[in-house]
């Protein structure tokens, strides 16, 4: 079942609604007299609707629009293309109908375009104002750096919160709190509360990706951005909260309960010794943590000299470091 692209006059999208799937409406020229037999010989309607029950309409619409713009069939040998429907033809009544439809569609398209272009216009104006703010903030940041004028700590804090509101990157990094703001400080305290129990369930450590999912799933709305999370976590230690952010050599970032490191490494060594040797996957399964973090813990134990590795195509395996203990 197929329809030539050259039959298409115009396409438009219909958004999904309750009980309705998203649709693309394809308005067609009248069928040529020599059309192939199909499911129906004729129809009252001059359009078909494509229903997208489970998404895909955005990509489909985009590609079809591209094809409609390129109109490659007009460059092809003419055995297929018939009326391009601009001139008079047999069945004048039909032609008038088509012209009427085309006109209506053209108006509708112009109106949609107008809405979009109005939105773009308003957006551009907004951006001009936003740009002024960016310039202003750069000037202020420079002055803070050069210490022109007397900026108090409070004022710096205010400035940072302005930058946060506008989404402007903070060029001024003050000692204690980095690029964090009051907001991030509060967030850090909240996180300490929320994460205590989950951390204990997971051997005292969670990757930042795990934390991001956990916290945002719990919030449901007014979600945290990845940067919000990182900035808040950077303040944990300074605020003397019982968790802290840690960055491994590999760049993996985790939240861990303080003062647990020695314990964790010692228990890792014990576990490996009991089993003779372990890979990250095996260790992860035993201890009930993610493979990623299991690997980091074993690497840490190795770094501290408690374990040594056997690295082969079959994988990375850790053994108790007998070179150290049995010299």
């Amino acid at each position: 079942m197929a329809i030539l692209l050259s039959q298409i006059v115009f396409i438009e999208e219909q958004a999904a609604g309750i009980g309705k799937s998203a649709k693309i409406v394809v308005h067609l020229h009248p069928a040529p007299p020599n059309k192939e037999p199909g499911p129906f010989q004729s129809s009252r309607n001059s359009y078909i609707k494509l229903s997208f029950k489970e998404h895909g309409q955005i990509e489909f619409y985009r590609r079809l629009s591209e094809e409609m713009t390129q109109r490659r069939w007009e460059n092809m040998p003419v055995s297929q293309s018939l009326q391009t429907n601009r001139g008079p033809q047999p069945g004048r009544i039909r032609a008038v109908g088509i012209v009427g439809i085309e006109r209506k569609l053209e108006e509708k398209r112009k109106e949609t375009d107008k809405n979009i272009s109005e939105a773009f216009e308003d957006l551009s104006k907004l951006m001009v104002k936003a740009k002024e703010m960016v310039e202003l903030s750069k000037s202020i940041a420079n002055k803070i750096k050069d210490k022109q004028g007397d900026i108090t700590e409070d004022e710096t804090i205010r400035f940072k919160s302005y930058l946060l509101s506008m989404g402007i990157a903070n060029p001024v990094t003050r000692e204690t709190y980095g690029s964090g703001t009051q907001y991030h400080m509060q967030l850090a305290k909240q996180l300490a509360g929320i994460l205590q129990a989950p951390l204990e369930e997971r051997g005292g450590i969670m990757s930042l990706t795990e934390v991001y999912c956990l916290v945002n799933r719990a919030r449901g709305m007014e979600l945290l951005s990845p940067e919000d999370l990182v900035n808040a976590c950077k303040m944990l230690e300074a605020l003397k909260l019982p968790l802290r952010l840690r960055v491994f050599d590999s760049g993996v970032m985790v939240i861990e309960l303080q003062h647990k490191e020695e314990e964790m490494v010692a228990s890792a060594l014990e576990t490996v010794s009991e089993k003779g040797s372990l890979t990250s996957e095996e260790f992860a399964k035993l201890v009930g943590m993610s493979v990623l973090l299991a690997k980091e813990r074993l690497l840490l134990a190795e770094k501290m000299g408690h374990l040594c590795r056997d690295d082969s195509v079959e994988g990375l395996r850790f053994y108790p470091n007998l070179f150290m203990t049995q010299s």
């Binding site: 958004a15 999904a16 029950k53 489970e54 998404h55 955005i58 990509e59 979009i116 939105a119 773009f120 308003d122 957006l123 551009s124 907004l126 104002k129 936003a130 740009k131 703010m133 960016v134 202003l136 903030s137 000037s139 202020i140 002055k143 803070i144 022109q148 004028g149 007397d150 900026i151 004022e155 205010r158 400035f159 302005y162 946060l164 509101s165 506008m166 989404g167 402007i168 990157a169 907001y183 990757s207 930042l208 990706t209 999912c213 945002n216 709305m221 979600l223 945290l224 951005s225 990845p226 940067e227 919000d228 999370l229 590999s250 760049g251 970032m253 985790v254 990623l292 195509v313 994988g315």
Partner: protein, 258 residues
């Protein structure tokens, strides 16, 4: 009684400094800060107005989202930097992308055992759409890329590797250097490579090709096939999407191979 002039002296000094600055035409930082505060309030109002008229546009129109993001980038503003930002709060762009981030992480985690943490943008797109369900708002591939770029802030792990005409999304911190990447790009055509393929296409020595392929094997990104005709095939499950999405039987799969 005279008050000791200390306090007054300090104030006078400051006034003098201010006057000197003003003379030179330099504006003090404090003054600029006050100005920024006022402008910020005005901007917030403008943005609210914009949101009331066009918030739908952002929600429903991925093209518009792209334009919006590009404009922000041009002027040096990141609308997704914080959930507390105006853009996020008033236009709702934040929640859209941050939630998408969570969905992306979950899909990658679920499929990691199969593909080692490497997945094509297409497959990720399909799976995310499936997970979001029928009534959720549609997302484009551009939306996914933007969400992933934000996720990079959470530490190494997320990477975007261009291959063929599309992208591979890396979701585990496997160390992939340029050699590995270029071999992945080579594998995209057939879903596998052999040492000979690598040597022929990239003009490498045997040892270099072998090392790269073994690294991919070790990281769980490639599977070794010793029963293939000729030499060993290194398959990349991340590139298997076509086979899986058609849900053909093992028999049909075997027959479909070149």
């Amino acid at each position: 009684m005279h008050r000791r002039g200390v306090g007054a002296g300090a104030i006078a000094k400051k006034k003098l400094a201010e006057a000197k600055y003003k003379e030179r035409g330099t504006v003090l930082a404090e003054d600029q800060l006050a100005q920024m505060s006022k402008q910020l309030d005005m901007f917030k109002t403008n943005l609210e107005e914009f949101a009331s008229k066009h918030k739908q546009e952002i929600r429903k129109n991925p093209e518009f989202r792209v334009q919006f993001q590009d404009m922000c980038a041009t002027i040096g503003v990141d609308p997704l930097a914080s959930g507390k930002g105006f853009w996020s709060e008033m236009l709702g762009v934040g929640d859209f992308y941050y939630e998408l981030g969570v969905q992306i992480i979950e899909v990658c985690l679920a499929l990691k055992h199969r593909n080692g943490g490497l997945i094509t943008l297409e497959e990720l797109h399909q799976q995310v759409l499936k997970g979001r369900g029928k009534f959720a708002q549609d997302v484009s591939q551009d939306d996914l890329i933007r969400a992933i770029k934000k996720l990079k802030a959470l530490g190494t792990g997320f990477g975007i590797i261009p291959v063929g005409g599309t992208y591979l999304i890396q979701s585990v911190p496997a160390e992939l250097n340029m050699d590995h990447t270029v071999v992945l790009q080579l594998a995209e055509k057939n879903g596998y490579v052999t040492v000979s393929d690598v040597k022929a296409s990239l003009k490498w020595e045997t040892e270099r090709a072998r090392q790269v392929l073994e690294h991919l094997l070790k990281e769980g990104l490639a599977w070794l096939d010793l029963q293939a005709p000729g030499e060993a095939h290194y398959w990349l499950p991340a590139l298997f999407t076509d086979l899986y999405s058609q849900e053909i039987t093992a028999e049909e799969a075997r027959e479909a191979l070149p």
